[in-house]
Amino acid sequence: MRFTAEPLTPAELQLRDEVREFMAQERANGLSVGLGINAEADMDFSRRVAARGWVGMTIPKEHGGPGRTAVERFVVVEEMLAAGAPISAHWVGDRQTAQMFVRFGSEQHQREFLPRIVAGDVWFCLGMSEPDSGSDLASVRTRATRTEGGWLLNGQKVWTSGAQYCDYVITLCRTSPAEGRKHIGLSQLIVDLRAEGVTVSPIKLLNGFHHFNEVHFDNVFVPDSMVLGNEGDGWHQVTSELAHERSGPDRFLSVMPVLARLFEQLRTEEVPADVRTSLGRTFATYMTLRSMSLSIARALDRGETPAVEAALVKDLGTQFEQEAIEQLRTLVGGELDPGAPGLEGLLADAVITAPTFTLRGGTNEVLRTVVWKSLLRTRKESA
């Protein structure tokens, strides 16, 4: 596995400066700072980002998108995450759903949804996990059965981020029996969250945030036109987007807003040598992880699908995030009050939400199994 370094070009650096300026302005206007994709959704903010042309950036021009590169999207996303911007409203559509429609969507889907994603006019969430299906995603039991003009959907999804405000949930479900092979017979349906028979109920995170939901489907009618791609192609669709889902800056930048606050405080102080050393170690890891993550975006632009590399970086990045929190606790010192303003409150939030870092988007243990299988396969091929 190689992570070839290719620094940002002058044009990419210029885009970066534009995003930095935008974020500085947003902060000056009182935008609240949160922790990566755990920050509470802010639809108005998402629309302002969209107005700059920074949502659905990689959607090709022929589909009404800006036709920018994966690296340009990387630049925008890392700047926003580092600044603690509340990007979660447009996050799923921008990162995954847009790609899904470009690759697998019907002409109608592309015409109907892609321009709206770019405009910040539609929000998506992912209906994958279920009460009995977590890491073993192919075992989902939500089922769609044939009916006149479409499908009747029944079942339950969990950990559905943002379902309380989103418009659609991309739902992985069984559309034909497994017959011993669980990866076949799965499809993704685009389900209107306001349709009859859909119930959304909150699952509160440990910090009290309403981020996750349970979504119940009780005989929900889904028209044929809302099947994504070919019926039965769901597993292929889900796994083909893993490189997009797992490699991004969201996998190592969750804690950056906390560390950046501490930095603001320290840079004008007399900093003891051991604190400088501790910070320097963290700086080095950020630099290395960022280079690896950027190299995956470059690979995506070359048309590769670096899903294994992405799993490796996600594992490394999320472990680091949790270690960084421990380090921050040592540096900040003392008891933490989640209601405290500024650095202390943010750090408290990080401590409480940190367990999710190594769970969401594939647990680290499952990711390592993915990497192991690839190492073994590569070895057998070369032997």
């Binding site: 620094p7 950046a260 320097g280 700086f283 080095a284």
Partner: protein, 360 residues
């Protein structure tokens, strides 16, 4: 990798790989004058940093190839010494020249006239000092300035690193250095020379780690316990992936330094060395855990790599030292913000003197 870097890597890999297959790993992983003569003839002992097509990528590629075979010959040192001398306009005589910048110690200038300098002191942890014709070292003047000198070692006390590679003490007793072997005003500072050494160690370590990945994946697939390959156990898979991950991270940090903007080169080299420091330990721990007891014996060649990693992570500055350097340079009152500092290029960060002062 550039074409030339790839060529240098492949050719060295071929030569040393063939030798290793013929004479055994140990013949490569210990001092071997005959192989040294072969590599010298192939030009590996005298890669000229002044050649326009030779740059950092090429030296790193050579270091990685050497690391891949646990090659116990001073190719990396010869390259570092040649670069230091060239940057200071010192013309080195024939024979092996090695740098004495792994530790932060310097000689003392005790006399100076038109014919050169008189220097005194001791240089510790000089790689392959006992085999060297020339040692390149910094010497400090009364006024605090430093000269770079090329001296012939006269008295050497042998020492070694954890892998048995020579790391000797060169004793310098009021030795006269002629003017041609002195640069009294080198643009290259000690910090920068050591950063390049640190980067080359990380590059070599990345090669060693890649070999360990191969060994570990092969073993986990072959070794059976409880009636199945141990690689079928998730606990073992986790270790194997840690091994591969550490290798990938170290290599990525090296490549990021090769591609970095010159005005941020020392900073990124420091990050690469810290990354090696963090990754070497977890890499070796997990590799040994997969191999069990046989990996902790001289019978198995795993130790050729892991013992080097344990040493290389400290040579040319420990993780601690380089982490402190980063914390010292990058936390400053005028800093534009942490994220901006960590994502160069940025003029305010460049103004902290974290880049090249001579071309790498």
């Amino acid at each position: 990798m550039s074409d030339l870097a790839q060529e240098l890597y492949d050719a060295l890999d071929d030569i040393v790989g063939a030798r290793s297959a013929r004479d055994g790993y140990d013949a490569v992983a210990s001092w071997n004058p005959e192989l040294w003569a072969v590599l010298d003839e192939q030009g590996y002992a005298s890669i000229d940093p002044a050649e326009p097509e030779v740059g950092l990528a090429e030296f790193c590629a050579v270091a990685t190839a050497a690391g891949t075979h646990a090659l116990a010959l001073p190719i990396v040192e010869a390259g570092l010494a040649a670069w230091m001398a060239a940057s200071a306009g010192i013309k080195l005589p024939a024979g092996l020249a090695v740098p004495a910048v792994s530790t932060d110690e310097v000689l003392t200038v005790v006399g100076q006239d038109d014919d050169g300098l008189v220097v005194d002191g001791a240089l510790r942890r000089v790689p392959w000092g006992r085999h060297a014709e020339i040692v390149l070292a910094f010497a400090r003047h009364d006024d605090g300035t430093s000269s770079l000198v090329a001296l012939e070692p006269q008295q050497v006390t042998q020492g070694s690193n954890l892998a048995g590679e020579p790391r000797d003490t060169v004793h310098v007793a009021r030795q006269r250095i002629t003017a041609g072997q002195v640069c009294t005003d080198p643009a290259l500072g000690r910090r920068e020379a050591r950063a390049r050494g640190a980067l080359l160690r990380a590059a070599a370590a990345a090669g060693a780690m890649e070999s360990v990945v191969d060994l570990v994946v092969e073993y986990a697939g072959q070794r059976h316990q409880f009636g199945q390959p141990i690689g079928s156990f998730q606990a073992i898979q986790q270790h194997v992936v840690t091994v591969a991950q550490a290798a990938a991270a170290t290599r990525a940090a090296v490549e990021a330094t090769v591609m970095a903007a010159p005005e941020h080169r020392v900073m990124t080299a420091a990050a690469a060395k810290v990354t090696l420091g963090i990754q070497a330990g977890r890499h070796a721990r997990s590799a040994h855990q997969v191999f069990g007891a046989i990996g902790a014996t001289e019978e198995h060649r795993l130790h050729l790599f892991t013992r080097r990693l344990w040493s290389w992570q400290d040579e040319y500055g420990t993780q601690h030292e380089w982490a402190h350097y980063l914390g010292d340079r990058l936390v400053f009152p005028e800093a534009p913000g942490l994220w901006e500092v960590l994502t160069p290029p940025h003029p305010l960060v460049a103004s902290r003197g974290v880049g090249e002062s001579v071309p790498w």
